[in-house]
């Protein structure tokens, strides 16, 4: 099968960081309507296998483009810019991260889920800011600086996951 198109081509969207989510979702559904394995039930293993492969690919493409961090990484990879495993980050940013980690620990120790909720909302706000900055840098082709924002988004995402896990522990999920 031909998976050579990039994800933006697959959805017939122009490769920008700002994606019209409603439009993306609508095109995703139009593709799945045609290609979801449900359309090929009972037509033998060949049809079901091929449809499953395509539907998997479309799900992957949709997941990539609908998540801002994954979309950012994907856009950079289209420009042959790959992430380093151990990037060097500014001391200022790292200090901020340490402070945020400490406030997460404090939030968990408080035993109040609302405190963690507020913390999550704060991180979400920060991530939005960084993502916005990435979008502007990327469009102005400042790829090195855009890459730095991706690293920051990764940090914030990990922090968010830790906050969710702390919330899970607190709520006994």
């Amino acid at each position: 099968m031909n998976f050579s198109q990039n994800f933006f081509e697959l959805f017939q969207l122009t490769p920008h960081f700002d994606v019209d989510e409603a439009e993306l979702s609508e095109r995703f559904q139009r593709l799945q309507r045609r290609i979801h394995p449900d359309r090929f039930v009972g037509q033998g293993p060949q049809a079901e296998r091929l449809a499953t492969q395509w539907a998997t690919h479309i799900n992957e493409a949709f997941a990539t483009l609908s998540d801002r961090l994954r979309r950012a990484i994907y856009l950079l990879s289209m420009r042959a810019i790959d992430l380093e495993e151990n990037p060097s980050l500014s001391g200022e940013f790292l200090m901020e991260q340490i402070t945020l980690r400490e406030s997460l620990d404090a939030a968990e120790k408080s035993g109040d889920p609302q405190v963690i909720e507020d913390f999550i909302a704060e991180i979400e706000g920060d991530s939005e800011q960084v993502a916005k900055a990435f979008g502007e840098l990327f469009e102005s082709k400042a790829y090195d600086e855009a890459l730095q924002r991706v690293y920051q988004l990764q940090f914030l995402k990990k922090l968010m996951q830790s906050a969710r896990a702390a919330e899970d522990r607190l709520l006994g999920y």
């Binding site: 017939q12 559904q29 139009r30 479309i58 992957e60």
Partner: protein, 632 residues
């Protein structure tokens, strides 16, 4: 092995070609079968007019020691007189091992066969049986009802499972269907089925929460409904929480009210449990209920108020609300965003459940479709579409993985490969490496669950990847691939990729049955014993060959000239003729081999047509808009 059949919009199905399809709700307490007939979706009834089949199977032995299996109401009637041989709520045992069930009511109720690993086995008067076999008996009974009502063998069924079922439980359900000789079109999540029934009935759109509290399982799903698309945004629940637990809580309360020190016989215990169920149902409408039990000289009686009952179950109901809150959080949405809340499952008749759901979501839940039937009805609608009776249907169900999948890594930790609530089908791969010089094998332990520690997650499968070439630590690259299909079923493969990849394994979960076990069970089962196996095999081989040649001919007529060179196209026509000739003979092995050969030869063509479908999807609905064909 058919090629892709693409039905163009507007093409109606000849009424004589309508296929017999049904939806089956294989429940903990009751099971149902439903079907779409003349545009109406309805549950099918037995000879005396009952839709609900109690999910109970009795294993007895006649005077000569031959086993006698009864299913449904007749089996339920034996529950109090012969409790050990009357298996109820087998769904709670599906895909479960002995250790997991230790200390549960089931462990007290039945005689488990002491097995080392795998799924539990139950000792009965008719020999040992497994939850898969018990479920297969229920499925067979329903399928027979279906074929009697619909006038012939079923062409396909959709079977529902709790959304929160893990892989082992899904696999066990699939195995039960195979054992019952059913053609499964799809395993469908129960809340999704309920959403289909409500969505197609009302045409309502927007964010819908399905709160499904059944006899033994609890699911809560959030879906977005728009123009025939049912998109699951998040799902959660508890695969072992349900109305049964309310019964047991009530039973404990009743025992305490009677004589606390009294040791009850197994049969009296079962009767008390049945009384508890009756009291629970009565308390849905009455403020108090009286109960009594007699056995020999023993006369016991007492009364329970609704307040006492609600007090006893409050923490269980709170747990379901907590799960609902987590689902909303996973979807990143607040309760106020929800447009409608739907109640499904018999246990949602309990007033406390309704009150707590209403108070959490801030709106009165919908109950206008019978909560006992709604899942089977939705499944029937999906089955009707999947079997091909509605080529025009705009319906599309997009479901998710309910529980994260991962692998055990160093230090007893779980590394997640696919997070919960990821849309399916999905595939993810991860590379691992060796940690010792010259290491030639690697243990791959597949886990399901949300927690970080291996001990807190479900072990699905454990296998060893052997034949890794000797290298220094960290040099070998082991690629593990997880694929979850549209039924939510997982397959895992692993290979060493650094040196070109030699060893590769594909696994089924440890709790599933092996293909040999299924074949063995099929052979010994009543349904297939009377058939001439060889004649059946020839018939099936011929049908497969015919299906492939016909589909390929029509595909070639449609797209052959556009997508293939003359040489390839004519070559395929030749192979079709050859297979058609061979299929006229009676050499089963040869027919199968030639069918497989033609299937492989036509694979690139099938892939090209699939690519074309993708291009058409966004090119608009008319064929004139098709983009120029690229070769792959």
């Amino acid at each position: 092995m058919a090629l892709i059949q693409i039905t163009e919009p507007g093409q109606a199905v000849d009424p004589h070609q309508r296929k017999r399809a049904a939806g089956i709700d294989l429940g903990t307490t009751n099971s149902l079968i439903a079907s779409v007939r003349e545009g109406q979706t309805e549950t099918l009834q037995d000879a005396v007019g009952n839709s609900l089949l109690p999910s109970v199977v009795h294993y007895g032995a006649d005077k000569n020691g031959a086993s006698e299996i009864t299913v449904g109401a007749a089996a339920l009637a034996k529950a109090t007189t012969d409790p050990m041989n009357t298996i109820a709520s087998a769904k709670r045992l599906l895909g479960r091992g002995l250790a997991e069930l230790a200390g549960t009511e089931a462990a007290e109720q039945y005689a488990f066969v002491p097995v080392q690993e795998g799924m539990v086995q139950l000792q009965t008067a008719a020999g040992s049986t497994s939850p898969v076999q018990v479920s297969a008996e229920i499925l067979k009974t329903l399928a027979q009802r279906g074929s009697e009502t619909l006038g012939g063998e079923l062409d396909g069924v959709v079977i529902t499972v709790p959304a929160y079922f893990d892989d082992a439980q899904r696999q066990a359900t699939r195995d039960a269907a195979e054992l019952a000789g059913l053609q499964v079109l799809r395993l469908l999540n129960e809340p999704t089925a309920a959403a289909v029934a409500y969505g197609l009935d009302s045409g309502d759109e927007g964010l819908t929460v399905i709160y499904d509290l059944g006899g033994g399982t609890f699911d809560v799903s959030l879906l977005r409904l728009s123009r025939g698309v049912f998109e699951v945004l998040a799902t959660g629940g508890n695969a072992s929480l349900g109305g049964d637990d309310f019964d047991h809580r009530l039973m404990t309360l009743m025992r305490a009210k009677l004589t606390p020190d009294l040791v009850l016989s197994p049969s009296l215990n079962r009767r008390l449990l049945m009384q508890a169920r009756f009291c629970k149902e009565t308390l849905s409408t009455e403020a108090t209920v009286n109960f009594e039990l007699t056995e020999g000289d023993l006369h016991l009686s007492g009364s329970i108020s609704r307040a006492e009952f609600e007090d006893a179950i409050a923490d269980l109901v709170d747990e379901t609300i907590r799960a609902a809150r987590r689902v909303m959080r996973d979807a990143g949405l607040g309760e106020e965003a929800v447009d409608q809340v739907v109640l499904v499952g018999g246990a949602t008749r309990v007033p406390l459940v309704r009150a707590k759901v209403e108070s959490y979501f801030g709106k009165a839940p919908l109950t206008h479709i019978d909560p006992d039937r709604v899942v089977a009805l939705g499944a029937a609608m999906q089955a009707d579409v999947l079997v091909g009776n509605k080529p025009d249907a705009e319906m599309l169900l997009l479901d998710v993985l309910p529980l994260s999948l991962g692998l055990e890594t160093m230090g007893g930790l779980v590394e997640k490969l696919i997070a919960r609530n990821t849309p399916i089908p999905v595939q993810r791969a991860q590379e691992f490496t060796t940690f010792k010089d010259g290491q030639s094998a690697m243990l791959i332990h597949v886990m399901q669950g949300e927690r970080e520690q291996v001990a807190d997650c479900r072990s699905l499968a454990r296998f060893e990847l052997k034949g890794i070439p000797a290298m220094v630590a960290g040099a070998a690259k082991i690629r593990v691939v997880f694929q979850v299909d549209a039924d939510g079923l997982l397959s895992v493969s692993a290979s060493e990729t650094g040196t070109g990849g030699t060893a590769a394994v594909v696994v089924k979960p440890s709790y599933g049955l092996s293909d040999q076990e299924i074949t063995q069970m099929l052979k010994s089962s009543f349904a297939h014993a009377q058939e001439d196996a060889e004649a059946r095999m020839l018939l099936e081989a011929r049908l497969d060959a015919e299906q492939l040649t016909e589909a390929l001919r029509s595909a070639l007529a449609q797209d052959g000239e556009a997508l293939l060179s003359d040489e390839v196209r004519l070559g395929l026509f030749q192979e079709i003729d050859q297979l058609a000739q061979i299929a006229g003979g009676s050499d089963v092995a040869l027919i199968k081999a030639e069918t497989e050969k033609l299937s492989q030869a036509s694979d690139p063509f099938a892939a090209l047509r699939m690519d074309q479908e993708v291009r058409r999807a966004l090119a608009g609905h008319t064929l004139d808009d098709v983009l120029p064909v690229e070769s792959s």
